[in-house]
């Protein structure tokens, strides 16, 4: 029989994420382009008004990610970023930044560390929750219970193909909020936001009881303005990775800050 353990409360910073408007949440791959480049970009994003920070834990086979994040993961892994290193960087940033940190990554590296051990270590490093794109709610029982005990939030994804009954299930299973994938597809920069995304988000709104953010393909203030009435927050990832890839070092963090700033203003 498993030992009975009391659940730990989720960090207040995450609980309060939606009380002061619609947060913009940057995604940055841990250790990309370099450790210092990553830390500078995270600080710049926070200074520009980011509501929370998503740290990508690099994986060799990121099947929910488009080319930009795949590339950044490969570079990070090649430079020696491991799961313990990700937690170390999380710990550094959580000590320095006032905003909640979420970890985004795939299930295999987490399961190799052990669900309970990883959840406790992540919480100890100052992370408030996780997003695991290859762990749909049906497969999450063990991972959710480990997370609850450690006081880590679980944020599950909702897709445009998800039927209403499942939206309700995912909304109920997510802690604090869930994450809507704007289109059927992988992460990556897209030109514009379609009417079908708005239709999808309106459908989620009718069913969901908790707040939800929208991500995948969000990079421009116009995207945020187009979706503002339909979602409670916005995640931007590939566009930032692209800036980090294309700009020389000092400008890169400035570029990330500028992009986040523009999105924050659009979300106001």
């Amino acid at each position: 029989m498993p030992q009975f353990r009391k659940d730990t409360a989720v960090d207040d910073r995450l609980r309060d994420l939606f009380t002061a408007g619609k947060p913009v949440i940057p995604f940055l791959t841990a250790g990309y382009p370099t450790v210092s480049g990553f830390v500078d970009a995270a600080v710049a994003a926070c200074d520009a008004g980011a509501g929370a920070l998503e740290i990508g834990m690099p994986f060799s086979d990121p099947l929910a990610d488009g080319p930009a994040i795949q590339y950044s993961s490969q570079i990070a892994l090649a430079s020696g970023i491991t799961m313990p290193r990700v937690l170390e960087l999380t710990s550094r940033l959580s000590a320095r930044l006032p905003i909640p940190i979420l970890l985004m990554g795939y299930l295999n590296p987490i399961s190799q560390m052990g669900f309970a051990r990883f959840a406790r270590a992540a919480r100890a490093a100052g992370a408030t929750g996780t997003i695991v794109p290859d762990c749909p709610i049906d497969e999450a029982a063990e991972w959710r219970s480990a997370s609850r005990q450690a006081g880590m939030a679980n944020v599950f994804l909702i897709a445009p193909t998800t039927p209403d009954e499942r939206v309700a299930l995912i909304d109920a299973g997510s802690t604090v909020f869930s994450y809507c994938v704007s289109v059927a597809g992988v992460t990556g920069v897209r030109r514009d936001v379609s009417e079908s995304t708005r239709r999808f988000l309106r459908r989620v709104r009718r069913v969901a009881k908790k707040p939800y953010v929208v991500g995948f393909g969000i990079s421009q203030p116009e995207h945020v303005r187009a979706l503002k009435l339909f979602a409670d927050g916005f995640v931007v990832g590939s566009a930032l990775v692209r800036i980090l890839r294309e700009s020389p070092k000092p400008q890169a963090a400035v570029g990330v800050g500028r992009t986040i700033g523009a999105l924050v203003r659009a979300a106001e």
Binding site: F59, S60, D61, P62, L63, A64, G66, P67, Q70, Y71, Q74, L77, T82, M83, Y106, L107, N108, P109, I110, S111, Q112, M113, P133, D134, C135, P136, D138, E139, F156, L157, I158, A159, P160, T161, T162, P163, R166, I170, V181, V183, A184, G185, V186
Partner: protein
């Protein structure tokens, strides 16, 4: 961990856990399998599982599938007594299930035919596939041509270069071959890319997975489409020699030919089974593809099972001389069968497989695929004490024409090494 001095014959008698005729409601064989994929795909997988179950029970679907297997693919394939090889090796009487005689030269067509019939039934106009050596790509492109479907095949850039004849075949069949440049540029990366494609076009596209891997229902569905191999063989054994074999041997990459061959015999307690993985340059070299023999349980491409991975949970790059076995994972049902000990798993090296390739070519006039040569090599390694009346069935999963360049290059390397050694001795 690697078994110390593992003798495949020593524990062939163990049969502990029951045979599972099907996975549980969550798509699991014991602790393995499941559906670890992005949310976008879940509804499509649920629909596919329901569609498959319905079609499988539908006499009209079965009739059409069986008819095409006969008239288009040329089934049943023969069961052939390899007399000269048996005499030479003295491990028993070796019977070959000749999947190399199936249309497109391997067992792969059994599955692509079944899946594409499902795609057509579901009104899909486009199919996609991943391929390593190109055998599954060719089998998919072939059936897609037969049914007039658009076909895109993802193939690692490195594989595109080393499997040029199959790339040409796919193109002649009207398929588009998309070289994958991400990751290690081999089969696992082609699979990632195919899944990404499917996530983006799940409404109009059917993903034809080539082995008993991936999220539920694929491992189960692919096994069902391949079980014809063993069903035919079981009947043929009874007809030709009046009894069942004592031992079945098949190679295991993802493991579809092995499950296809074994499934019909699962309840025959007297029939032992041996699955053969690729040990590449040796299990201790780190350059191999033996997920069951030397891997750890993890999650890849939508299911839980044995995997080759680093301590940090990153998937490592496998190696085998045979492109079809060069995969870091293995089907969830094999993971279950390993733990249950109904099937014993062993591995053979590149060298041993090449030697078996040569033996079969020279003694029987059959060029086996390098994958199938692994199964043969494991027979060669069985202890000689087995009685000569022992009946051994080997699944000859494919033919070797595709491997000629690899085999010739290896032969040249060996010749070079020998001449260097003899020069040194002079």
């Amino acid at each position: 961990m690697v078994n110390k001095k593992h003798n495949p014959a020593s524990d062939l008698g163990n049969r502990l856990a029951p045979f599972l005729p099907r996975p549980d409601r969550r798509g699991r064989f014991g602790a393995y399998g499941g559906r670890y994929v992005p949310e976008t795909l879940i509804p499509a997988l649920e629909r596919l599982a329901a569609d498959f179950e319905k079609a499988w029970k539908d006499p009209a679907f079965q009739k059409e599938y069986r008819r095409l297997m006969h008239e288009f693919a040329g089934r049943p394939t023969s069961l052939y007594f390899a007399e000269r090889l048996s005499t030479r090796w003295r491990r028993g009487r070796i019977y070959l299930k000749r999947e190399d005689l199936n249309h497109t030269g391997s067992h792969k067509l059994n599955n692509t035919l079944g899946q594409i019939l499902l795609a057509v039934r579901g009104g899909k106009k486009r199919v996609i596939a991943e391929t390593g050596a190109g055998q599954h790509g060719v089998a998919t492109a072939t059936v897609a041509a037969r049914f007039g479907l658009e076909c895109d095949v993802y193939m690692g850039k490195i594989d595109v270069e080393r499997q040029a004849p199959n790339v040409a075949r796919m193109k002649l069949l009207g398929a588009r071959v998309i070289p994958v440049e991400s990751g290690a540029q081999t089969l696992k990366d082609a699979t990632n890319e195919a899944i990404r494609d499917w996530v983006a076009r799940v409404d109009d596209t059917f993903y034809v997975i080539g082995s008993v891997v991936g999220p539920h229902p694929y491992p189960f569905m692919v096994r069902q489409f391949q079980r014809v191999i063993g069903e035919e063989a079981r009947t043929q054994f009874k007809l030709q020699i009046g009894r069942l074999p004592d031992l079945l041997v098949a190679c295991v990459g993802g493991g579809s030919n092995a499950l296809g061959f074994f499934t019909a015999f699962m309840k025959d307690k007297s029939v032992r089974m041996l699955g053969v993985e690729a040990a590449g340059c040796g299990l201790h070299s780190g350059k191999h593809a033996a997920s069951l023999s030397a891997g750890r349980v993890g999650i890849l491409h939508g299911s839980a099972g044995y995997l080759l991975q680093s301590d940090d949970g990153q998937i490592t790059v496998p190696h085998s001389i045979s492109a079809g076995l060069d995969y870091p994972g293995v089907g969830p049902e094999h993971s279950y069968l390993k733990d249950s000990r109904r099937v014993t798993y062993t591995s053979v090296t590149d060298e041993e497989a090449l030697a078996a390739f040569t033996a079969l070519s020279e003694l029987e006039g059959i060029l086996p695929a390098l994958e199938s040569a692994h199964a043969l090599a494991a027979v060669r390694k069985l202890p000689a004490r087995l009685s000569s009346n022992q009946i051994i069935g080997v699944c000859l999963s494919g033919r070797g024409d595709k491997d000629l360049a690899t085999v010739m290059a290896a032969a040249e390397l060996r010749a070079d090494a020998i001449s260097t050694r003899s020069r040194r001795m002079e």
